[in-house]
Every structure is written in C-alpha cells, then in structure tokens.
Symmetry: D2
Subunit: 270 residues, 4 copies
C-alpha cells in the first residue's frame, strides 16, 4: 500500500493539521511512536525463534514543520513484520531504519527494539538441554549514511562474594546478578556472542534445567570463582577490549545481594 | 527423555533431599516454578502467531513429602514447547496440565500462562489493517478429572466521560481504559470473542493504525457513546450474561483519567 | 468542608449525571478510585515514620444507582491525611473505612493501602543499626459492623538450598527470597511482629548495614540453616498457627534462584 | 560513629578483601549501592513533606584498587537521614555528595535520589484544594569542586489532539500525557517551578480533586487549547529558554493515546 499517495488523497478532503508550517523555530531531535508491541520471528546465531518485540520509532523534525506523520511508522511495521516476510535480524533492523527515513522524509532518526533472546544451553554434567532467556535491545540511530547500531544484553548470572568466602568458615553468600553489556561495533556481532562473553566472566552461568549432578557442579564452580561486582565489570570489559570488532561499550553489573535488600552496582564505560 | 528414570539413577549417587519424608504435617497447596519465559507459537481463532509466554506451574504437595521435583516442570515445558510440536492453544494448556500432574505424581495443580494476544483489525472507514495487542492469561487449576480453566483478557479501549460531556459546552474528557474480563466457561470460548465482546461496550475501540478519516470516525463515535467506569462493567457484564457458555466472570474497568493522576475503577463479579 | 452540601448546591446549576437512576438491574461490588499516592506519617510498633501511601477506595453500588461520587473519596483522603492530623495506623484505617461508607452513603466497601514499612535493626555482631524496608499493605473490607482487616507483608530474606549444600563439597547456592504473609486476625497484630515471625524462619534475615564480622555471621548462619521454599512456607505457617490472634493466613515464598533465571515458589493457605 | 576507625580495627581480625590491590589496570567510573529505600522529610518551595526516597550512590574507583567500601554508603544515609536531622532538600543532596566523596576517599561520584513530589493545588473554579503527585529525581555528579546537579520532573497533564478536533464535527480525543523535564541550572531552581512551567504549556493541567464546575472548566480549557506531542515539547522548551538560570535541558512528552494502544513521543534536547 502506498501510504503517501493515500495521505495526499485525504488531504483534499480532511485538513492536514500536522502538515502545516511551524513558527517556533525549534527543531525536534526525536518524534514518533513508542511502546508498540509486535509478534515477529527473530533470527540470530542460534537460528530463528518466535518472539514479541517492543518498538520505538522516531525521526528528527525540522524547525519549520509542525508535526510528523505518526501513522506511517505503524504502516512500516505492518509491512516489514508481515507473516510472509523473512525473520527479523540485526541487518533487517538496519534496513528498516533506512526505509523509515525514506517513508517519513527525514534525515535522521532512531529505531529501538526490545525483545527476549532465548539461547539453548547444555547443562555442564548431565548434558540435558534447556532454554535460557536474556533481554536484548537494539538501537539504530543517526542518518542514513552512517547510522550507529548499539546492541544491549542483560545477562543474568551468579555472583559469589569473595569477602564472604574469605571471612567465613563455611559457605559464602551468592545471588543472581545482572550483567548488562552495550556494544557498538564496526562489524556485526551476534547477540549470542555477547551472552557467552559475559557468562564466561561470572562466578557461574545460569541454566533453565539442572539435574542434581549439574547443581553440584555449578555450586562448586561458583564457590571456586568468587567475584565482586567490581570484578564482574572489569573482567567483562577486559574481554570486550580483546575483541577487535568492538568500537565502544558500557558494562554494568548489579548484584541483587542475598544478605541485603539493595543492590551492589558497578559500571565501566569505554 | 525419561526424567524419573534419570532421577532414580542419580539417587544412588547423590542424596535426594527433596524426596525425604516431612514431619510438620502441613500439606502445601501450591509448589513449583514461577516466571519462566518461553518462546512459542500461539493458536486461537485468529490463527497462529509467534509469541513469548510466561509460565507458572505448581502442584499440591502432601503433608508427608518434603519437597517437589522442580526440574520436572522445566522438562515438561521443554518437551511441550519444542519447535516441532504443534502450536499451543487453550486445549493444549489443558493437556499440559494433565501431563504435569502425571509427571509430578500430584493429585492437584495449577498452570498459569500470560502472553500477548494480537488481533488483526480493520480501521472503520479506510479499511486499512493493523494489529492490536491485548494481555491474555490462562489458568488451569484443580484435579485431573475436572480442572477449571479461567481466561483473562485486558482489553484497552477509549472511555468518554458522560458527566464531562453533559456539563461542558464543547468537548468531553476521554482516556485510555483497561477493561479486564475473566471468564470461566462450560465450553471453550476463544479469547478473540471476549475481546470483541468487551470492545463493543466501550466508548470506542482502539486501533494500531488509523487514517484521518478513521480518526474522525472514532472521535465522533466516542463522543456519541459516553460511558462511566460503572457503565463499562455493567454493559460488559450484561453481554457476558447473554452468553450461555459463561459459568462465572469478573469484569473490571480502570480509566486512566485524563483530568486526574489517578484511576476510576469498578468491578462486578458473578 | 461539607462536600455533600456543596454537591447539592451545584446540582441546581450543573446536571448531576452520576446521580440519575440506572435500569440495568446490576449491582456493582466495587467502584471508586485507584492509584492515589499520598504523603503521610505512619505509626506502628516501631514508632512514627514519614511515608508515602498508595490508596484504593471503593464502595458497593446498588443496582438502581448509575454512579458513585468519585470526588468524595479524594475529599476524605485530604481531610484524614492533613498535616495536622494524627499519624495513620491500622486503627486509623478502620476508622477511615467507616467514614468512607458514611460519606459515600454505602453499605459495603473496601480500602486498600500499600506503603513501605521501615524497621530499625541491629547487626548481629557489631550491633551497628540500620533500617530495612518491607512492603506492607492493609485492606479493610466488608460492611460497617464487621469489616475484615487483612495485613500483608513482603519480607525479603536469604534462603540457602538444602540440596545444593548436601550434594556439594563446598558452598551452597543461596539467594534473596520474598516471604509474603497475609494475616486476618481477631485482635490487632503489629506489622513488625509479622516481620519478626517470618524472618525467624528464613535461612538468614537481611540487614541494611553489615560490618565484616556481621557478614561472616550471616553467611555461616545461612549455611547452618538451609531451607527449601517448601520449608519456608511450612515453618512460617507453623509459627502463625501458634499465634492465637490469627484467624486465617496465606504464606507464599518466592526464591529468586541464583542458579536459574526463574523462581521457586510455594504457597500455604489456611 | 567513625566507620573508618572501626574498619581499621576489624582489618586486624578479618581479611579486608576489598582493600587489596588490583592488577587489571581498569578504573571503574561508578561503583556503589542501588535501590536503597529510605523514609525522609523532603523540603522544597511547597514546604516540608513526609516522603520515601530511593537512592543510588556511587564513586569512581582507581585502577589499582580492588573494591569500594559498600557499607560506608549505608552509614552515610543512616547518619544524614536520621529523624533528628533537618529535612532533605536540593542543597542537602549537594552536601551529602561532598560527604560521600570524603567518606569513600573518592575523587568523583554520583548520587541519585527519586521520590514523589506533592504539590497543593487549587481547583480552577470551586477553589477546593488537593494534592497532585509528580515524580522527581535529582542527580549530583562529578568531582567535589564542580559537581553538576540535574533535576528531572515527570509532569502528568492532559493533551488534546489538534488534528482530531479539526477534523471531527464534535469532540476531540484527549488523554493523559507525561511531560518529562530535565534541567541543569547555574542557580537553584525549585522543582515546583518546573512543574508550573510545564503545566502552563499543556492542554490542561491535572488535579486530585475537581468539583463539577471545575470539570467543566478543564474540559473546555483542553478543547480550546489543543496540542500535539510536538507542540508540548516545543512550548516547554521555549519556556525553559526564557529562564536565564537554565544551562541545559531535555524535554520529553509521551501521550498515552486514547485511540491507540501505543504512545506518541517527542524529545528536544538543548
């Protein structure tokens, strides 16, 4: 469907309030739609998976234009995410960004997508398989020639406190932590690669399904591998630095402390 | 994979703490896993759609049993939601409930699933199509012979205030509202039927994509059709009463008032 | 301010749409306002504390009445929570419930209040003091003669897995858990009593501020005191049963597992 | 209590793991505690009010230091928010920031506080008074000599769609919107000033309590004063530009559209 032609047609019948000129001389960096939920098939290194994404889509508006055409964002999603179209991936997000600028007649813009990423994992001893879920978001922002793509993953893991281990005769407090990694890269990086990179630095990684032999293994692994929140962000940052594709990153770690009702938190930005 | 056999095997090597007897003489009505997120394909009246569900799975535990076998719940999800299995639907939820009781050797239990439901809608004048999203949850609870299935839908809609319309010379405050309908039924009801039933009672229904001719239509329709929160719950309750399949229901309406920073709320239970 | 007199006055000038009769013959169990946030001073066993409460206030509406008078709920909160009025406590909630029924000319109703409860705690070895926060909610519901008051506390604590401890050569996974206790009582119970009762059953309680000697103590205490989610609900239920004031209760425990990305959950109702 | 002396004492008995040197040569920009909830009295232009704040407190950690001293953040909050200390205000936040750097022996840091702000408002016609609640956050960040204070307010208001009004024979869709204003200023600005500035640009402001004469007034006022999300951010940005104290700002507007299930959104940064 040609949305702009339809709009032109309607413009003869019903006033186009958004299309009128604006005299406040204030450009708007970002205007669009937020909180759009859509079913889709997602594709990355682990293959294709059913998913539900939440989208934000925005364009820059010049100072002399009163408003943008909100319905065109929805039309673009409808067209791109139709059931007979290929699964969405990071490259598809980049292509959709270009189409959005064209359709909205804009020079700059921003697309945000948040969705769960499911990774099939194998338990360390029993080898039983199960899915783990991570929160993935992808932002494409800039102009059509050189937009920047930023990928963010929230990687839940176990952290075990080095202090607690050292000072206690037995045991050590441990807890679920969130390691959040944002990466801007020169070449494409698969989200599953970032998950694996972050998990390798945790006291232990998490699994959906563990048999008793696995539970023994992850318990002992965490105990052998204590990490402060400071260690988590430093070790993940070191691993990102060794990857030549990474141009910039932010690493955050939040420990939902099992001995407090607040979190320990650290952040490194590069 | 036969989980129980594997467990039996492991029991010889590693202590089965959950399997030991309990002396507190307290049965537990509900024990299991909560907050499990899984990719799936959902099927109801509108066809099949990619989705992500959040599951809670619980069984009753007799007084003399110390603990349940948490990993079996995950194994069941893994088996039932595998990519080569049919899409999940309400009947599939009922079947999974039975399998859970068998696998967990339990007499009573409860499965909860929450997922978004997407419905393809046609704009009232331009006939342009788009998806609308609703929150759907399904609970199956009871024993294996006669479990009760409850379906709940959160249906966002427009409400326009009758008082504001009557007392004002022009305009009337209106806002987004959530009509939440829980239905227990003797025969299956499709979630799309409940959506349509609730939307028919709103000041206006919502759409993803509206052209200007449609926006004029829904604006005027809402103005012609003012409803208090009390009207919303009564009118939806009346419609549910006319449906012979419905055995019991709860209807709630929450108006996110556009003139206040709180909600107006009403609830009818039958 | 006498709201009803003012309303009567206005009724002569501006149509009273809510006051008109209704012909659908459907009583409404609950209609009112939701999500009202108010500053207040809270008083319970631990003394008076600055607080912010979130209120829901509802009345039953007879079948022949079109709507309730929403503004009267707000007027009641304004009057009751004025800065020069005494701090709010559980008895004050009960009194406010009665005033609400009178003001709204209703026979039945429901008031809900959610607020944080802060308890001053002393670290187990260093004796250093700090505050811990809990979520408290109080619901008063019924008619004016015999309303039922239900108090619910979310008590965060540590749980350490008995299975993990038994099968592992060293360490044991542990995590933050939420024990949620709802109590309906014949005589008043202070929320701080419920907090203490629940914490006594955890692997360890939590603290805001711990010195290293304290961290050693809570780590070892949790290791000596492993609990499944099933143990948590049973042990809290046993303690509630021993309290003659308790007429009914619900106990839930949710472990935010440090080896999984989902929760273990149990619930006992009595 | 002198926390550092106590720490020194304990260091002789129990290993100080955090205090050991680090060899990864990676400074950490931000390490500390997050999600701390505390009761407090807040003071700004509208006077003193009971409140509950949520704090994040972080310092920069040099490359050669393994960890920070988490318990000192809590000790600072305990000391500063004690019941016998003056109410907290923006200047108090700035002072607490300096104390934090000293106590943690850090050169740079960041304090975040989020709390509700309650403003007493007078209904436009009846003059009846009630409270409105806003979300306020204050961030102090930088070094001790020239930290930057940023104040952010989420101001809920009514927006009425100019397009819907123009094209419809009667009515116009309107909805609750959030105008979010972040301000960095050379001189102190009271949060209540930002609230008033933003509300003046909305189609209408919101109130807790409105009588029917007021409801008529705000309904008609919104209808006379339609605003797109683009208009909201531009008009608020223009007002901020006229205030000589403002050094930089971000203005966002999100309309929770009453005809869609998604938001319209705009953002201006200066």
């Amino acid at each position: 469907m040609n949305i702009r032609d339809t709009s032109a047609l309607l413009a003869g019948v019903i006033a186009d309030v958004q299309g009128s000129p604006d005299r406040r001389e204030l450009p708007i960096q970002r205007v669009g739609v937020k909180g759009l939920r859509y079913p889709l098939r997602w594709r990355s290194a682990g293959g294709e998976q059913p998913s539900v994404g939440r989208f934000g889509m925005y364009v820059a508006l010049p100072a002399d234009q009163k408003g943008t055409h909100m319905s065109r964002f929805i039309a673009l999603l409808e067209a791109r995410l139709a059931a007979d179209r290929p699964a969405l991936d990071a490259a598809g997000m980049r292509a959709m960004f270009g189409e959005m600028l064209t359709l909205l007649e804009a020079r700059r813009g921003r697309i945000e997508l948040s969705l769960p990423l499911f990774v099939r994992k194998t338990a360390p001893v029993s080898r039983v398989e199960s899915l783990m879920d991570y929160d993935l978001s992808i932002v494409v922002e800039g102009d059509d020639d050189s937009p920047v793509t930023t990928m963010t993953l929230v990687v839940p893991c176990t952290s075990l406190c080095p202090c607690s281990k050292t000072i206690s005769e037995y045991g050590a407090h441990n807890q679920r932590s969130h390691v959040t990694v944002s990466v801007e890269s020169a070449e494409p990086i698969e989200p599953e690669e970032i998950v694996a990179l972050a998990e390798a630095q945790a006291s232990s990684e998490l699994y959906g399904l563990l048999k008793r032999v696995d539970e023994k293994h992850v318990t002992e692994r965490a105990y052998e591998n204590p990490k402060f929140v400071e260690d988590l962000v430093r070790d993940v940052a070191m691993a990102l630095r060794r990857d030549a594709r990474v141009r910039g990153f932010v690493v955050e770690a939040e420990n939902f402390e099992s001995i407090h009702n607040h979190s320990a938190f650290a952040r490194i930005e590069s």
